[in-house]
């Protein structure tokens, strides 16, 4: 018999306690995080047992080996999430920071202070470590969270969630600060809670994120597509370019920050493309090239081994996130054409230029309209941990508020505080008083 929770009722309670959590001190929130880390260690056998059940069921269902790796929650993953919790504890308090302090007139002082967003709903893939990361990021930033994880790890999620919630509440955080949704139809109920939920963060397939975006009035943070580009400029270090592309395509092919399209400057394409084709062929990556790219690869004796791996591509391929060992390749006239292509076909996620030419790099970094624009490194660096944020709740391609990997700072907003001595606007409108706008910090 499955317990049927009313998500909206729970969300209403959560909305009411949100200001209480927002008013908690960094010490109180850190104490809760420490308690969570200790409880996870103390009750690890229960977690591992639940995870073994999930993994057995997944194996019986014939799940792919790559997916299987994500479901597992073992001693190594426990160590990782506990390290992550320690790192969160060591980070400065993201809330209560004064972002602006301005005297508007004598005795009238305006402050902008960072505050939590409030109630955040996160819907994420079947990865038990994500549940720990997301819940602790939300608590550190003073946010209440409603969590819905992938069903393949339902047993593990249930055990993890109750350990985390109980530890947080025992440590003094409000009872309704965390909520777990378990049933798929609860997602639709959550989407209707626009009065109670301040932000939704869906993680998953393009299709899933689009569904969320199209079916709620709650602001959604995240990204649907991750169509990342690497542009190999005329003045690129070609060996570096091959290594960076291999890493960006194969180090974690299913990640949103994996490269999907390589653009190559026409002047170096004849020498570079065959080299790239050989390296990719060895890594089992298939190429989809424009006719020009194909001719250069197929025409080169050097790249003979890669010939069978080149498909002629369609325009639609440039808008496709393969998430697979497939790479689009196109020859471009110069950095301007590369920029145009990326701004037109890309998803404004993360794009990189490989070049020794400072002018071309500056132009690329300036003109490419993406959350991450890189020079001489792999697009796979787009990640909250690698940016030094401790962890991330997702990567945002939105331009409002948070862009790129979203860590603690992306989980807070601000409010304006104005302290006066009875000032009224009429006096300023009539000219009896006037503002002097003096920044105090």
């Amino acid at each position: 018999m499955e317990f049927r929770m009313n998500i909206r009722e729970e969300a209403v309670k959560m909305k009411q306690v949100a200001p209480v959590l927002a008013a908690s001190s960094n010490e109180e929130r850190n104490a809760a995080l420490r308690a969570i880390g200790q409880a996870l260690q103390a009750q690890k056998e229960a977690i591992f047992a639940a995870n073994a059940e999930d993994c057995r069921a997944a194996e019986e269902a014939g799940i792919a080996q790559a997916v299987m790796k994500r479901l597992v929650f073992n001693e190594a993953k426990l160590t990782d999430v506990c390290k992550g919790i320690d790192q969160l504890i060591s980070l400065p308090d993201p809330i209560g920071r004064t972002l602006l302090k301005r005297e508007l007139d004598a005795g009238l002082v305006l402050e902008r202070v960072s505050v939590p967003i409030g109630v955040i709903g996160v819907i994420f893939e079947a990865r038990p470590d994500a549940l720990v990361q997301i819940s602790t990021l939300c608590l550190k930033s003073g946010n209440c969270a409603i969590l819905k994880g992938g069903k393949e790890t339902a047993q593990t999620n249930r055990v993890l969630f109750s350990i985390i919630r109980d530890a947080a509440v025992s440590a003094g955080l409000p009872a309704s600060c965390l909520l777990q949704a378990e049933l798929h139809n609860e997602i639709d109920e959550l989407l209707q809670c626009e009065k109670e939920v301040d932000l939704l963060i869906p993680r998953g397939s393009n299709q899933f994120v689009q569904y969320i975006m199209n079916n709620t009035k709650i602001p959604v943070m995240g990204h649907a597509d991750g169509i990342c580009h690497i542009y190999v400029d005329r003045d690129a270090d070609q060996e570096m370019a091959v290594q960076v592309i291999l890493d960006a395509k194969t180090q974690y092919t299913a990640a949103c920050n994996a490269v999907e399209t390589v653009l190559v400057h026409r002047d170096i394409a004849p020498s570079f493309l065959p080299k790239l084709a050989r390296a990719l062929h060895s890594a089992s990556v298939r190429l989809r090239g424009t006719q020009e790219a194909e001719d250069l690869i197929v025409g080169s004796v050097e790249a003979a081994a890669a010939i069978d791996a080149v498909d002629i591509m369609t325009d639609e391929d440039f808008r496709t996130e393969y998430l697979d060992l497939i790479l689009s390749v196109k020859v471009v006239a110069d950095v301007e054409e590369a920029i145009d292509h990326i701004n037109r076909y890309g998803s404004h996620h993360t794009d990189s230029i490989i070049t020794r030419d400072d002018a071309a790099a500056d132009r690329f970094l300036q003109m490419v309209d993406s959350a991450g624009v890189y020079r001489n490194c792999s697009t796979r660096f787009a990640d909250g941990f690698r940016y030094g944020f401790g962890a991330e709740v997702g990567i945002s391609t939105s331009k409002l508020h948070a862009r790129g990997p979203v860590g603690l700072e992306g989980l807070v907003t601000y409010k304006y505080l104005l302290r006066g001595e009875g000032q009224i606007v009429g006096d300023y409108a009539s000219g009896r008083s006037s503002f002097h706008f003096r920044d105090l910090m």
Copy 2:
């Protein structure tokens, strides 16, 4: 014969030039602003003539006197908008600011820099000065803008827009950086441009803003309701409270930051409410009180003059933005009940406490979940000019990105720039390399 423009085609062009405008220098954008100010002065007779036509038509249509005042664009309004332009020129460049600079590892440097949002659509009321303010705010912040003003000032808007656009383009900004929409059905076309338009800012009635929010996938910034509160605490300076409430209700009754509900501490209600009732009665403000509030006012000989002006209120009144000379009044037990009421019935816009008690004030400022939370001053201060932002494109009750009055800073976002020397993620995943996260500023 009306020229029928294709909004999407124009928006596509605008999207393409957006990175060019984003790459312009502060000097180039300031030169355009100076040219706009000069052109407005030089061609003021044409503006005044067009405005006279609009005003004549409005008068014939029998428009209300309060609305009429907004339609007028005369010498005084011209001086005001030109002052506003000078102030914008004097403000520091909001784009290209380094918000974070961190060495991730030797030779791998991450920066977060502020960049324009891109293409912004603003739909605003019939106020010609708003057209000047919004277009110059967008240009200063490097954003392209699609402007749709109220139809009552269509002639004035057309003249103002062509002066502003021509001056900006003559000064060197890209030709498609500004676009005017004139027909009402062009709004619906604009709402479909989610690929081209990065942000919509609708200003107007609750109903209109709701319509926009419900009919587009473009992110919307702004507010539907402005249900602002003033809580008069037990330890309030009662004379100050009366003056602040009068200002907040009557200084500009139709503004979103005008007060709609006054909450009064029970201990002072018997002495304070009659005083307030008399003052409001003199200012022609009708009261809607709870039964308890009404009894206190009606029962007081002192407030006899106000008796006829008290209506018994319904719960729904607390959720109503009157935008009129009507005020809801409720007696509460303490600051906690005031906070609960505001968080439940308010619109998270701007709320103020009147008190001499620091503890009550701190609690209120901490717990009220609104974009502006004030102490001892009028809610009418919620305004970009009064905050020292120069001007505003609107006031946001959203918690994502921009909250409260939205000036230049609310019109920019950031991107992450990462500069390396060929670094690949594989080396960090395998442990060959490790991050050292050193903040450089």
